[in-house]
């Protein structure tokens, strides 16, 4: 019952060993003196009395040892000794130590690096007050192809933004203490050097209070600001530094956005990360009050804003969800035009990382498996090493060492190895983390913050501990099993070899199996990436540079002004050397999408199609073939009849495969008629994959309208593309110069080649695939080293047998063949186990794979063949040692 107290006292005493030591020496001495005195009293001579006393005492040293054990911490003393012993042992076997340390550092480092990503993206609390209570709120439209007339910019197939008209209803729910809205916007920032496009957010006045973050300087928005008062803005710390040099107070600063002077009323703290920044590269630098127009306040099908809400105290996500869905059903009945809309919510963090969670978890598991293989290899090394120390063990047992003590010593040695390996691993992990952060796709929110924090360090320590346990336990108990009588007998040199081989065979099968699991995953992912790259885009993305030129409405109030701007810009760029073709439009391929409802011919039913306003040079610039009918030309302008081109999917999807030429589309029953005059090839304009990333993107019906007729349809022109003879460098500058010569206040943004846009889209897949392949290769390499080790060891243990066989006339070839045959059996067993495990676990990869089944037979055959050949190769290489056995030497020794 007083155990803790005793431990405390002992721990305290262990800290000052000199006092304790002198005390117990003095006490034993004093006891001895008493004994001597007694013996003298009984009549012995002083010398005889001392001898008798010493005999009674049973030895001064032993007495002190007993006392020391009771008083101090025997375990800690032993630890001290064992740590020193372990370090000495390890230093005497530099080859073994280096191999073990490298293997462990690799395993632990990789785990630390991946965990630090997981930590930054998934575990660290979001930078808001009480972030666990924040939920993302959105609306789902059931069957979005049947959206009523209103145009909707849909990103996900089902999930859409929130209609602001619904927000007051959501805010009334008792489960939510506040509901705020935000929307990404861009503004042209002028008056501060080179004009630039500022990434911004329009937010409701309660946005910052909902997140629980206040401006570092000034104030947040008030209800008056959001009612449309004088123009005000809150800016980021970075912009405050850049534009104004970061003075400590506001002092009536202003910025010009889209030509309008805004008062700066607040500056956000430097660490503030706004919601629309999660998973984006652009940093939000301006916040503007969100002002709703009449449409926004009443139209329940105008899905315009993102929403975030804070759960009321004590309310669970589930009950909030139930309340919201009940309300949503009621609203759907009350407003039939929004009858397909249902609101949904999810914890904010889960919502932000939903796209990358599987990737990270799969990588964490993969890297855990690599560590497992590393542990198996080190365990194998240790077992072999222990075997060399069997005689030493036997002697120690014979001299009375306890088995517990020997096991303890082995465990300490494993711990020392693991800690040293862990320290090296931590360093490696830190470097790797920096590299991974640089390579990580921008879709991983918060990944930039990854690094070695307390959680990562604790994780690394736990990994080190588990690692030591994993690779140290077997060898430790193995050492304890040494039978001194056997081990000390003459000719006992191969005792235990059988045991070791059996156990090491088990280890070998295990590591081949783990390598097989990882290789299967790596091949699946690589094949999936290859399949992805084979998907036909329908246009030629090579050597095309595109840029956005968002013309602000105050300077370019109508379509004519915008058209004139782009026509002049096109003309100037076409004269630039190296330019083959220039095109403009509202949205260019890989740079966004615009879908709308329309009616075809006399059919009153609304259909959904993509709409693009394009220049006549568009199809030539992107390499899209005109298949039938005519292309757009300069006669298609304002005043001439409205015409359009459509893609083949239009004919397939909306006209039952009939020739679309001559059919008429309208964007509404009362809108002008547009006659289809030609058919162009299908284009995967959003990229190769759909939103899930598991299938090729579907081609939706597309209508191409001449840019010169955009006044018929409100599609604001805003993008320009240039096809060059190759090497887009310098072209970006040419676009900038051309735009500046037309309007010095006009910024251009998102200057990217189409290939860069494509790479961004597949960045996450490429990231996860390269890491997985890397881990699989490491595991593969370690497994081969393991195979080599087992076989080489087996050969060295059996050199007597081999020598005998050679002496009896066996050929070296035969012996190598036998060894390789046995190796092949082991490797094959590992492959079978591994493939079964891979087959069972590959379904977790389903959501990461593109158009390839997790049970893809080619992958499994490739894994098995590759591992078998490499395994037998490694075994064969090791078995060549057998051919160097000299029968005379071996049999003599």
């Amino acid at each position: 019952m007083d155990a803790p107290r005793r431990w405390w006292v002992r721990l305290k005493e262990w800290r000052r060993p000199e006092t304790v030591e002198s005390d117990l020496t003095a006490e034993v001495q004093s006891h001895l003196e008493f004994l001597v005195e007694d013996h003298i009293h009984r009549g012995l001579s002083p010398d005889a009395a001392r001898r008798a006393a010493l005999m009674d005492l049973g030895g001064v040293e032993q007495a002190r040892a007993q006392l020391r054990d009771a008083r101090g911490f025997r375990v800690l003393d032993a630890l001290n000794t064992d740590v020193r012993l372990a370090i000495r042992h390890l230093r005497h076997a530099p080859g073994f130590t280096l191999a073990a340390l490298l293997t462990l550092a690799l395993g632990i480092g990789a785990n630390t690096a991946i965990f630090s990503l997981v930590d930054a993206v998934m575990l660290r609390p979001l930078p808001y007050a009480d972030p666990g209570r924040l939920v993302a709120l959105w609306e789902n439209v059931q069957d979005p192809s049947a959206l009523p007339g209103a145009a909707a910019q849909t990103q996900a197939a089902e999930r859409v933004a929130v209609a602001p008209a619904n927000l007051p209803d959501y805010a009334r729910l008792s489960a939510l203490s506040s509901v705020a809205a935000y929307a990404s916007v861009g503004r042209n920032l002028t008056g501060a050097g080179v004009p630039e496009r500022a990434t911004g957010e329009e937010v409701t006045s309660n946005y910052f209070t909902t997140l629980g973050v206040a401006p570092a300087l000034g104030r947040a928005f008030s209800a008056d600001d959001n009612a449309g008062g004088s123009p005000v803005v809150i800016i980021s710390h970075a912009m405050w530094q850049r534009l104004f040099g970061g003075p400590p107070n506001l002092l009536n600063r202003t910025v010009r956005l889209n030509g309008v002077t805004h008062d700066v009323i607040g500056v956000m703290p430097p660490e503030f990360v706004s919601l629309s920044q999660a998973g984006q590269t652009e940093r939000v630098s301006v916040w503007l009050p969100m002002v709703f127009d009449e449409e926004g306040l009443t139209n329940r099908t105008a899905h315009l804003v993102q929403a975030v809400a804070r759960l009321a105290p004590g309310v669970s996500v589930e009950s909030a969800r139930a309340e919201l869905s009940a309300l949503s059903e009621a609203l759907a009945r009350q407003f039939p035009e929004a009858g397909r809309t249902r609101a949904a919510l999810a914890p904010l963090r889960a919502d932000q990382v939903s796209d990358v969670r599987t990737t990270l978890i799969v990588l964490l598991v993969a890297v855990g498996l690599v560590l497992l293989v590393a542990c198996v290899n080190v365990a194998g090394l240790l077992i072999v090493r222990e075997l060399g120390r069997r005689r030493e063990m036997a002697v120690r047992f014979a001299l009375g060492a306890s088995r517990a003590r020997v096991v303890f010593e082995q465990v300490v040695q494993s711990l020392v190895l693991a800690i040293a390996g862990g320290a090296a691993g931590l360093l490696l992990g830190w470097i790797t983390t920096r590299t991974l952060v640089a390579l990580a796709p921008s879709s991983m929110p918060y990944v930039q913050a990854a690094g070695l924090d307390a959680r990562v360090l604790v994780f690394a320590m736990v990994v080190v501990g588990l690692t030591a346990l994993a690779f140290g336990t077997w060898p430790a108990f193995h050492a304890a099993r040494v039978d001194p009588v056997h081990a000390l007998k003459d000719g006992a040199r191969s005792v235990g070899a059988g045991w070791v081989l059996r156990r090491r065979s088990g280890l070998l099968i295990a590591e081949v199996a783990v390598a097989a699991v990882l290789l299967t995953g790596a091949i699946l992912m690589s094949r999936s990436l290859m399949a992805l790259d084979r998907v036909d885009l329908g246009f030629n993305p090579a050597n095309v540079l595109a840029a956005s030129v968002a013309l602000p409405p105050d300077r370019y109030p109508d379509h004519e002004a915008r058209l004139a701007f782009f026509q002049t810009l096109e003309l100037r760029l076409t004269q630039t050397p190296g330019v083959i073709a220039t095109a403009f439009g509202n949205r260019l391929p890989l740079r966004g999408n615009w879908t709308s409802g329309m009616v075809v011919d006399a059919d009153p039913e609304f259909r959904q199609a993509g709409f693009q306003a394009v220049s006549t040079t568009y199809f030539r610039t992107f390499g899209i073939p005109v298949l039938r009918g005519r292309a757009l030309n300069d006669t298609d302008r304002l005043g001439s009849p409205g015409v359009a081109l459509v893609n083949e999917a239009f004919s397939r999807g909306l006209l039952g495969g009939a020739d679309p030429i001559g059919h008429v589309v309208r964007r509404g029953p009362a809108m002008p008629a547009i006659t289809i005059v030609g058919v162009v090839g299908d284009v995967r304009r959003t990229g190769r994959t759909d939103d899930t990333g598991t299938r090729a993107a579907e081609v939706i019906p597309q209508v191409y309208l001449p840019a010169a007729q955009t006044m018929l349809y409100p599609l604001p022109l805003r993008e320009i593309a240039v096809r060059t003879t190759g090497g887009a460098s310098g072209i970006a500058e040419a676009i900038r110069t051309a735009v500046a010569s037309l309007d010095p206040d006009q910024p251009i943004t998102t200057v990217r080649t189409l290939e860069e846009s494509l790479a961004l889209r597949s960045a996450q897949k490429r990231f996860q695939t390269s890491l997985f392949v890397l881990f699989a290769l490491v595991a593969f390499g370690l497994a081969l080293v393991g195979v080599y080790g087992v076989v080489a060891y087996g050969v060295s243990q059996r050199s007597a047998e081999i020598g005998l066989r050679l002496a009896l006339g066996a050929t070296k070839f035969r012996i190598v063949r036998d060894i390789m045959g046995r190796t092949a059996h082991l490797v094959a067993a590992g492959i079978v186990v591994g493939l079964i495990a891979a087959l069972l676990s590959a379904r977790f990869l389903t959501s990461l794979l593109f158009e390839i089944a997790p049970s893809d037979p080619v992958t499994y055959v490739a894994t098995a063949t590759g591992l078998l050949i490499a395994g037998i190769g490694a075994g064969g290489l090791a078995s060549l040692r057998a051919t160097r056995v000299e029968p005379n030497e071996v049999l003599k020794s």
Binding site: R10, A26, S30, H31, F34, A70
Partner: protein, 114 residues
């Protein structure tokens, strides 16, 4: 640490505490002699048993040790009972009589296993 030693430790603690209660502060050697004497020579206390037990009692806070001088002017570590030790002795003594009387009943009463 087998069972026999544990039982011995338990009774030894009781004997040490009781000795210190009756004799007052005492050094290890004196205690060993005293216990030997009280037991009528049937209990020969090895120093290897006694001192570790004393250390344990001290760590538990039941006794405290101080260097002092014996009656014949020899330096020795004198042990004395603490207040916690007093309470522990009372509790252990009561427990001991309970256990012995209980065990005694089993040994006396043959009907116990009838």
């Amino acid at each position: 640490m087998n069972e026999r030693t544990d039982v011995l430790h338990g009774t030894l603690a009781l004997m040490v505490l009781r000795t210190l209660q009756t004799m007052g502060p005492q050094h290890g050697y004196g205690m060993a002699r005293r216990i030997e004497q009280v037991s009528g020579g049937r209990l020969q206390l090895n120093q290897g048993t006694l001192y570790p037990a004393l250390v344990r009692l001290e760590q538990q806070g039941w006794i405290r040790a101080k260097w002092g001088t014996s009656e014949n002017n020899r330096r020795a570590r004198f042990y004395s009972l603490t207040a916690r030790g007093q309470r522990q002795l009372a509790a252990e003594a009561a427990n001991w009589s309970r256990v012995t009387s209980l065990v005694g009943r089993f040994l006396e009463d043959p009907a116990g296993d009838a």
